[in-house]
């Protein structure tokens, strides 16, 4: 065997990459060639020394983890929201406006506990304390809206009846030509407010 080939086989051997038959050939050559034997010994020692370095490794400073975690950019989800806002400034402004308006409606709803009666023809209506009565034989032309009170209808209403945070009693003699709406939750109240606002805007 040539020494040049032997050297290349030595490296393969150290890489754990030399077939058994060739290992035997290499051994044979090493026994007969003192120079290659010396080189093999040096290579083997270099190899072992290098591997020994692995166990003696320097350690990063303790605050490094904290520093890394502190330097991370905000997560992708957060950034997605931010980019959405950047791309749709008008929509963002509109939704913020809507949100503020709804919030004020909610607080308004909670604060207000007084009876409110709205309608175009309130002369026909009798109010007793907390109760709004449409007496039998009477006829209310137009819509009737009652907030925070009981409503009792014995007569006729030529329009919609809307009851907010209250109860509605319809007698058998009652006649309501329009829709009857009962609103007693914040959410539907908000919905009512919003749709009213838009129809107000539309009709004005």
């Amino acid at each position: 065997m040539e020494c040049k080939l032997a050297v290349s086989m030595m490296h393969d051997y150290l890489d754990d990459d030399l077939p058994e038959q060739q290992q035997r050939d290499l051994k044979e050559h090493l026994l007969s060639c003192p120079e290659c034997r010396a080189q093999f010994k040096e290579l083997e020692q270099t190899d072992m020394l290098l591997f020994s370095l692995m166990h003696q490794s320097p350690v990063a400073s303790d605050e490094l983890v904290g520093r890394i975690m502190g330097a991370l950019p905000p997560s992708k989800k957060e950034r997605r929201v931010i980019t959405w806002i950047r791309r749709h400034p008008a929509l963002t402004a509109a939704s913020v406006f809507l949100l503020v308006m709804l919030m004020s409606s909610v607080t308004f709803l909670k604060q207000d506990g007084q009876l409110v009666v709205k309608g175009s023809d309130l002369d026909q209506v009798v109010i007793q304390g907390n109760t709004v009565i449409v007496p039998s034989g009477k006829r209310v032309s137009g819509d009737l809206t009652v907030e925070n009170g009981k409503t009792q209808v014995y007569g006729e209403v030529n329009g919609n009846v809307t009851v907010i945070d209250g109860s509605l009693y319809q007698a058998s003699t009652a006649h309501i030509s329009g829709q009857v709406k009962s609103i007693d939750q914040a959410l539907s109240w908000i919905w009512y407010k919003v749709t009213n606002m838009f129809s107000d805007v539309a009709y004005r």
Partner: protein
């Protein structure tokens, strides 16, 4: 079964910071060791660790489950080290002042300056000689030898990390080993 790193990356991708901290814990010392031996400087090595994890974090969604996490992170770290070496090479002189800090010159980058008295005791003369020899290796051999010996990667794994054919890696390991033998030979 899914491996630990795969699970942690998925959690981290969903925004779990603790999962990411776990990944940092698992790999920080390995990456630090790699950077320290590649660049021969504690500060720069810590910079590399930080930069590596920042890149990992930014590209978590691009991490492919079929690939080993270690391969991926070693690739990022090795590339960062090589980039840094390339940048500093033209002005690399031991006597030149480094400019960014007063009074620091190339000598302060030599590892023996960073060695604490404590580790000085543990560090044998031979080991120091080896480190010096590794530092004299050209970069392309140095990265291969560090991955092979200090990180205990197989030739196949190194070829994946460096994106080079196994035969190239093999040749480099052989040449690197031969180079070190010649440097160390007289001392062995």
């Amino acid at each position: 079964m899914e491996n630990l790193e795969g699970r942690l990356t998925k959690l981290a991708l969903k925004g779990d910071q603790r999962a990411f901290a776990e990944l940092v814990e698992l790999y920080k010392d390995k990456i630090f060791h790699l950077g320290y031996r590649m660049l021969n400087n504690r500060h720069e090595a810590e910079d590399i660790v930080q930069e590596t994890f920042l890149r990992v974090y930014r590209n978590l969604d691009r991490y492919d489950d079929n690939q080993k996490f270690s391969t991926w992170i070693y690739r990022i770290a090795t590339n960062l080290c090589i980039d840094r070496l390339r940048k500093r090479r033209p002005t690399y002189s031991l006597d030149a002042e480094l400019g960014d800090q007063e009074g620091t010159d190339g000598y302060s980058l030599i590892p023996s300056d960073n060695v604490t008295p404590e580790s000085e005791l543990i560090l044998s003369e031979t080991q120091r000689t080896i480190y010096e020899a590794i530092d004299e290796l050209p970069v392309k051999y140095r990265s291969v030898m560090i991955l092979r010996y200090l990180q205990d990667l197989s030739l196949q794994e190194i070829s994946e990390v460096l994106n080079m054919p196994v035969t190239t890696i093999k040749t480099r390991v052989h040449r690197g080993r031969e180079f070190l033998r010649k440097k160390l030979g007289p001392r062995l």
